[in-house]
């Protein structure tokens, strides 16, 4: 069964360092997302991406964050200068169709990348 894969599964970094989290969405999917979950808290939306551009971003997704689809398969999240509060599980998700409130497409999540900032 096709799945969304994420690397690394766990990364430990020093505050101020740049981090890149990688995702390989399901191959025929067109809509890509990043979410994060601080341990013990809600899963929060970060950004959605379609047709090589950001379609929506949350207030969490500030100038320190960027996303890119450098080739036909990878989808990356970059944090330029990590802060302690960036420590969280980051989930990539993809779907074939754009879900709307009245037409919900299946959204598949990866296993997550745990980021620990020291």
């Amino acid at each position: 069964e096709p799945e969304v894969t994420q690397t690394p599964s766990h990364q430990v970094t020093q505050m101020g360092q740049e981090v890149i989290l990688r995702c390989v969405p399901i191959s025929n999917h067109l809509y890509f997302y990043w979410y994060r979950q601080i341990l013990g808290q809600k899963v929060e939306f970060l950004v959605s991406f379609y047709n090589n551009e950001i379609s929506e971003k949350s207030e969490i997704f500030d100038d320190q964050f960027s996303v890119e689809r450098p080739d036909g398969s990878n989808f990356t999240l970059k944090i330029r200068s990590t802060k302690l509060e960036d420590s969280a599980m980051y989930f990539c998700a993809s779907s074939k169709v754009r879900g709307t409130p009245t037409n919900t497409g299946e959204l598949f999540f990866g296993e997550g990348s745990r980021l620990t900032v020291l």
Binding site: Y31, Y33, Y35, L39, Q41, K42, V43, E44, F45, S48, Y50, S55, E56, M89, F91, S95, V97, R98, G99, T100, P101, T102, N103, T104, G105, E106, L107, F108, F109, G110, E111, G112, R114
Partner: protein
């Protein structure tokens, strides 16, 4: 903005018992996802409900969507230790980017 509230926040049941988890939306609920998560791990897709009144089952888990009540319920019959975990509901938010908003999760423990 839309909010999803899950109840109960946590639940401990004896193996073999039935249980229900609810997810209530602050706004009209057209579609809803249910995911399961082991603490600190990824989200496992369980079910997606798209229409009011829709009911889906997978093994011993049944989910229903009640549009009028702006609520979905997840029912587990004859619970097993393998059902233990965190159950999350998610709804597509208004706007056209397909983002989901999530409830805070319901932690289920099943005692053998």
């Amino acid at each position: 903005s839309q909010e999803l509230e899950q109840s109960p926040q946590s639940l401990i049941v004896q193996e073999g018992k039935n249980l229900t988890i609810n997810c209530t939306s602050s706004k009209t609920l057209y579609g809803l996802y249910w995911y399961k998560q082991k603490y600190g791990e990824g989200l496992i897709f369980l079910m997606m409900l798209q229409k009011g009144g829709e009911e889906k089952s997978h093994e011993k888990i049944t989910a229903k969507l009640d549009e009028k009540k702006q609520q979905s319920s997840l029912h587990i019959t004859a619970s097993q230790p393998s059902h233990a975990g965190i159950y999350l509901c998610g709804a597509v938010s208004t706007g056209n980017t397909g983002k989901l908003i999530f409830g805070q999760g319901t932690t289920l423990q099943v005692k053998p």
